[in-house]
């Protein structure tokens, strides 16, 4: 499958008809999804015949891209039943098999924990360079233990080769830290690699936290994420947000 062909297939994916602001439902474009899936497969071999999960799958753009690239087993997790219904329609269109589960990926204390950390990072003085990494070494494994941080997904721990996701960016005040909470869960689900999009402004922080969770993060590309005017609080017609495409590699 050529990149151009993949992108043109993905144009057929139906997206949110009525996006919900509380879930930060910005659809992933066909252009972006095609590039992520194409790179994941051609550069790293992370999709074909692999078990792949999409956290906050929404209408399934990324997972469908992974499916077209030959994923052997596909799971999509999302909180919103309207999005899941659209995803299901898309799967029929593309004749792909994917398991959908309605679940709050970041339920309970996890989100509070990450929100508190994020506020501390933004409000307080900068941490000295070596400190977070040291915290890491001792508590990494426990930090991403799903039975503790994401009880509904406990039995999915390390069940997937690859997690591919476009998490909420946590820009809505009530969603602070949600991007990091998603990443933490993703690292608990994956054996090999996690692909994720995060605002470029948080790059250093993400690198540190990922290391603390036992993953080596690499920014594969910086992209401009076109957020069209879908919600009333957007003053301009379209806003470009600087976003990093990350690949996190997990050791054994």
């Amino acid at each position: 499958m050529k990149l151009k062909a993949l992108e043109s297939h993905l144009q057929e994916v139906e997206v949110f008809s009525d996006p919900k602001v509380q879930f930060e439902q910005y659809p992933t474009s066909a252009h972006l999804a095609a590039r992520i899936a194409y790179m994941a497969e051609t550069t790293y071999g992370d999709l074909t015949d692999k078990a792949v999960a999409d956290l906050g799958c929404g209408c399934g753009m990324l997972s469908i891209a992974a499916g077209i690239m030959g994923a052997g087993l596909l799971y999509g997790f999302d909180i919103d039943d309207d999005a899941l219904e659209i995803a299901q329609g898309n799967l029929e269109t593309f004749e792909l098999e994917m398991e959908l589960v309605r679940v709050n990926v970041v339920a309970g204390r996890l989100l509070e924990e990450e929100a508190a950390r994020t506020e501390k990072k933004e409000g307080g003085p900068r941490q000295a360079g070596g400190k977070p990494a040291n915290v890491a070494a001792s508590s990494a494994a426990q930090d991403i233990a799903l039975d503790r941080i994401a009880p509904p997904l406990a039995r999915f721990a390390k069940q997937f080769d690859t997690v591919i996701m476009n998490p909420p960016f946590g820009t809505k005040p009530g969603n602070r830290g949600i991007d990091m909470a998603f990443l933490r869960v993703a690292l608990g689900l994956a054996r090999t690699a996690v692909y994720s999009l995060h605002k470029s402004s948080t790059r250093d922080y993400i690198l540190q936290r990922a290391a603390a969770w036992g993953a080596k993060g690499t920014v594969l590309a910086q992209l401009r994420f076109d957020v069209p005017q879908m919600y009333k609080f957007h003053k301009r017609a379209s806003v470009d947000v600087e976003v990093d495409l990350w690949r996190f590699e997990l050791g054994d």
């Binding site: 015949d49 078990a51 052997g72 087993l73 799971y75 909180i79 039943d81 899941l84 219904e85 299901q88 098999e97 398991e99 959908l100 589960v101 309605r102 679940v103 709050n104 339920a107 309970g108 009880p151 509904p152 406990a154 039995r155 999915f156 069940q159």
Partner: protein, 125 residues
């Protein structure tokens, strides 16, 4: 929802912590559908180590799905009949509608159009 997914879902109501009871969830009033998919040996071998095989055979028996041995063969790869039956039960047997009840706290999770709903109310988390 495939039986594989049922094998991964457990009750996560906060006060429900007895691992002997919060898994597997008890299937009720379900509709089944067989959906043929391609057998992938590597994927299946990987899953063998991940599924709770006792829970799987218990559930399969309740659903009247026969043909799975009580224990995983020592060398599953050398047993194509087992691999095929496991593939059919785990990956081709789909639950389209129904309920999953927790044997610990009684919470009922619904399955609608093949999608299990694992959301809980605030006070249950």
């Amino acid at each position: 929802m495939r039986l594989l997914t049922h094998n991964m879902l457990q009750c996560h109501v906060k006060k429900c912590t007895d691992p002997a009871l919060n898994f597997p969830l008890q299937l009720q009033d379900i509709e089944l559908e067989q959906v043929e998919t391609e057998e992938n040996e590597d994927l299946l071998l990987n899953l063998i180590n991940k599924v709770d095989y006792n829970a799987l055979t218990t559930t399969a028996a309740q659903l009247g799905l026969v043909g799975l041995p009580n224990a995983i063969p020592k060398d599953p790869q050398a047993d194509p009949a087992f691999m095929t039956r496991l593939h059919e039960v785990l990956l081709e047997t789909n639950i389209t509608q129904g309920k999953m009840a927790c044997r610990g706290c009684g919470h009922v999770y619904t399955i609608k159009d093949g999608i299990p709903n694992m959301l809980l109310a605030e006070h249950e988390i």
